[in-house]
Symmetry: C2
Subunit: 411 residues, 2 copies
C-alpha cells in the first residue's frame, strides 16, 4: 500500500468528486443510505455542513473514539491527503455506504477489498464522524513538520495537571482524533477500523475507547440517561436547539482567534474511572448529597423536579456537591456541552469492574473546561473517581461539499 | 455486608416467594416489566422454564459475560444461597425489575441501595441471564468444598490444550459463569454488576468480557450478521425451531449422565483474537477460499445461495477451508449451537485493534466442541486468529418457578 493510501486519491481529487456525486441528494440532514430507514429508527446525518456532525447531533447509543499519531517523516502533503481521504470515506460511511465504490466485494478478486465488510447490509445507524487536531500536530519534538505551527490556536495545548490526575499515556493525547458515534456499535467500530486502515503509512492508532449508554443528551426529546453511579446525567446540558448558548459556549465565533477555527469547537476527552464498588456501599442520602440531586428523579436537593433550577442559597445543596461546583452560577457563567459515554474494560485482579465515564465535552475555548475542572478540585465525588486519560483537540468547522475537514488550516 | 449477601435471603426463602409473586403473570415468555414494550422492540424473556434462557433465545445485540471464582472458606450453604439469590435477582431483572423491591431509590436513605440504579427507566431489553458451573466448582486444589465432587459430569473438565492455544489465565476458566445478553448493553452491564455485588463474600469476578454485534443467529427471521472478517456468520447454525437438532446436539437428554443435567447443556467460551490488519491485506479470492464461502452472499463456493448446502465433492471448496473442516459431514455428524459476539478491547502498542470473536457454543457434550476444534487444527484461517481465552461450564436446566438454577445438583 502506498503512503497515499488505500483509496489512491490524489490531493484535491477524491473529495470534490464525492461532493458532486453526493451533495445533490442531501437535504435536511437525511440522504440516501445503503439501507435507508425512517429518521427515527435509523437516522442518516450529513457529513458536510457548517459545523461537524457529532457535536449537537442527538447523542447516539454507542461510541468508538480513536486517537492517532502521525507517522515519523510524514509531510504536509501526507497530512492533507489523509484528511481528504478521511473526509471522503467518512462522508460515504455516514451515508451508509462502503468506504469506496468497489467496497468489500465489488473490487478485483485478486486484490484486498477496500472495505473490511463487517457493516455490509447495516444501515447508517446515525453514524457521525468528528475529526480533531491535537496540539502535537502543530508542533512537537520533531518541530513544525506540517508548516502549521504558527496557526496553532493559543489555547490548544496539553491540559494542565489537575489535582488527583493519574493519567495513563496509553489513554491520553494524540495528534488527531476521530469520534465515531452510532446507534449500532458495529457501525462505529467499522468506521474507526476502516479510517485507521486508510491512514496506513501516514497516521497510526495511538489509543481507542469503546463506550455505550450515552451519559448525556443534546435534545429535550431524549430521556435523560443514567451514568454508572445510577444518577441521571445530562439534565443541565446545552441542547442542540439553544442557539444562543451554542454561540456563547460551544462554537468558535468569527471574531475569535484563529480565523480558520470559525464554526469549530474544542473537544476535551477525560477517561474517568469510577470506583463503583466503593460507591455502591455509600448510603443513598450521602449519594444524593455528593451529587446535589436526588437519585430517583434527578431533582436538585433544593426542591422541584428534574428541570427546576437548583437554588444554592439554602443549605440543602452541599457546598462541595458536584452540581453546585459545576454550575455556571459558581463559575462566572461558564458552560460546556457534555457528550460522554459509559465504559467497561473488563475487571481488575481484585474482581472489580474496570468501569467509568468516558467524558467528552465541547467548548468554544479550552479555558472553559480548565476552569470547571479546577473548580471541581473540592468535589465530594472525587473520592469515588480517578481521571486516568486526557486529551484535547481542535475540532474545525464542518467541511463544505467539495472540500475536506480542516481545509481552512492549509489555505 | 454479610456473607448471606445483600438481599438477605434465607436458604430456601426468597426464590419461592418471588416465584409466587411473579409466576402468576408469566405467559408465553412475556411478562409485565418495569417498562413493558411490544415483543418485537423490547422482548421480555421468562427466567424460569424447562431450559435456561439465553441459549436458543433469538441472539440479542450485546453481551456481558462474567466468570466467577468462589471465595476461599465458603461452604455448601454459601453456594446454595448464592444460587438462590442470583436466581431471585435474575428473575426480577430479566422482567425489567430492579434486583429487589426497594431497589435503587425506595429503600432507607441511611443504607446503600439494593440496586445500583443505572438501568432505572430502561426496559428489560430482552435480557437473559444464563448461569453455569465450571469444573473447579466440583473439585479443586482445596478439595470437594461443596460436597458435589461425585456429581461432576464426566466431560466437565478443563478443555485439552489445542494446537496454537495461547491462553491468558485472566480470560480463562472460572467456578461459575453468567452470560448476560440484552439488546441494550447498559442492561447487560447492570445485571452483571448487580449479580457480582450480590455475590459479595461468596464469589468474586474472575474475568469478564463485553461483546457486541452478535456473530450468530438462532432464528431464521434474524438476518445473518457479519463477523470482523466481514463474512456472514451463523448461516449453518442450529436454529431455535429445529427441535430434532436441539435434542440431538444441544440439550442433555434424560438418559445422559448425570441425571441432574437433564435439560441442560455445556457451554464453551473461547476468546479468539483476530489479526484483522493482516486479514485485511489478504486478497478477496483468498479470503473466500479460507472460509469456503463467498464474502458477498455467504454462498458456499460450490455454488448456490447462502442457504444452499455446500458440496465438498468438487474442488471449489478447499480441503482446509474453515467451513469444510467444521461441517458435520467431515465430523461424523457433530453439530453445535454457536452464539458468539465480536469484541474490541482497545488496541496494542503497534496501533492494531485488539479485536476478535468471543466464541460461545452450546452442546450436549463437551466432546462435540473438542472434536471440532481438533479438526480445525489444519484450518487455513488459523494464520489469522489466536485463541487467547478458554472456559467450560455445565449449564443446568432452567429453574422451575419456586426453585433456583442448579437445585437438582444439591437435591
Ligand atoms: C465520573 C465523573 C462525573 C460524573 C459521574 C458526573 C455526574 C454528573 C451528574 C449526575 C450531574 C447532574 C445532572 C446533569 O446536569 O447532567 C452532572 C452535572 C454536571 N457536570 Fe458532571 N460528572 C462527572 C464529571 C464531570 C466533569 C469532569 C465535568 C467538567 C469538568 C463535569 C461537569 C458538569 C457540569 C457542567 C454539570 C451541570 C451543572 C449544572 O449546570 O447544574 N462533570 N454531572
Ligand atoms: C475467529 C474464529 C472464527 C471465525 C471468524 C469463524 C467464522 C465462520 C464462518 C464465516 C462460517 C460460515 C457461516 C456459518 O455457517 O456460520 C463458520 C461456520 C462454522 N464455524 Fe466458525 N468461525 C470461527 C471459529 C470457529 C470455532 C472455534 C468453531 C468450533 C470449534 C467453529 C465452528 C463452526 C461451525 C460448526 C460452522 C458451520 C459449518 C457448517 O455446518 O457449514 N468456528 N465459521
Amino acid at each position: 500500500m502506498s503512503r497515499r493510501g488505500l483509496l489512491g486519491l490524489a490531493v484535491g481529487g477524491g473529495v470534490a468528486g464525492l461532493a458532486v456525486g453526493m451533495g445533490a441528494g442531501l437535504t435536511g440532514g437525511v440522504a440516501l443510505g445503503r439501507a435507508r430507514a425512517g429518521e427515527g429508527a435509523n437516522p442518516v446525518y450529513e457529513f458536510f455542513g457548517e459545523h461537524q456532525a457529532g457535536i449537537t447531533t442527538p447523542v447516539q447509543d454507542h461510541l468508538h473514539f480513536a486517537s492517532f499519531d502521525m507517522m515519523p517523516r510524514t509531510d504536509r502533503d501526507d497530512l492533507i491527503s489523509l484528511l481528504q481521504d478521511w473526509s471522503y470515506a467518512a462522508a460515504r460511511m455516514t451515508q451508509g455506504l462502503e468506504v469506496s465504490a468497489s467496497g468489500a466485494v465489488n473490487g478485483p478478486a485478486e486484490a484486498p477489498p477496500d472495505d473490511t465488510g463487517e457493516a455490509l447490509g447495516l444501515p447508517a445507524a446515525g453514524l457521525t464522524l468528528t475529526i480533531g487536531f491535537g496540539p502535537g500536530l502543530f508542533e512537537n519534538e520533531d518541530g513544525d513538520r506540517y508548516g502549521i505551527a504558527s496557526r496553532r490556536p493559543a489555547g490548544l495545548e496539553r491540559l494542565p495537571a489537575f489535582l488527583g490526575d493519574d493519567l495513563d499515556p496509553q489513554a491520553s493525547h494524540g495528534d488527531l482524533c476521530i469520534q465515531a458515534c452510532a446507534d449500532d456499535p458495529q457501525v462505529a467500530v467499522h468506521a474507526i477500523r476502516n479510517l485507521s486502515r486508510i491512514a496506513f503509512g501516514r497516521a497510526r492508532l495511538r489509543w481507542s475507547q469503546l463506550g455505550f449508554g450515552k451519559t448525556s443528551r443534546t435534545t429535550a426529546t431524549q430521556a435523560t440517561p443514567r451514568n454508572l453511579f445510577g444518577f441521571k446525567d445530562g439534565t443541565a446540558n446545552i441542547l442542540a436547539d439553544d442557539a444562543a448558548a451554542l454561540a456563547d459556549h460551544v462554537w468558535v465565533a468569527a471574531d475569535d482567534e484563529p480565523a480558520w477555527m470559525t464554526g469549530g469547537s474544542y473537544l476535551v476527552a477525560r477517561k474517568i474511572a469510577m470506583l463503583i464498588e466503593t460507591w455502591d456501599r455509600v448510603r443513598l442520602s450521602e449519594q444524593d448529597t455528593i451529587i446535589g440531586r436526588d437519585k430517583g428523579e434527578g431533582a436538585p436537593l433544593s426542591g422541584g423536579d428534574e428541570f427546576t433550577a437548583p437554588d444554592f442559597h439554602g443549605s440543602e445543596i452541599d457546598a462541595n456537591s458536584h452540581v453546585r461546583l459545576a454550575h455556571p452560577e459558581q463559575n462566572g457563567g461558564v458552560r460546556i456541552l457534555r457528550r460522554g459515554y459509559n465504559y467497561v474494560d473488563g475487571n481488575n485482579a481484585l474482581g472489580r469492574l474496570d468501569a467509568g465515564l468516558f467524558f467528552l465535552s465541547y467548548q468554544r475555548d479550552p479555558a472553559q473546561f480548565i476552569a470547571l475542572q479546577r473548580r471541581l478540585s473540592t468535589d465530594r465525588m472525587n473520592e469515588y473517581i480517578r481521571h486516568v486519560g486526557s486529551g484535547i483537540w481542535a475540532i474545525p468547522a464542518g467541511a463544505a461539499p467539495g472540500s475536506y475537514v480542516g481545509a481552512e488550516l492549509f489555505a
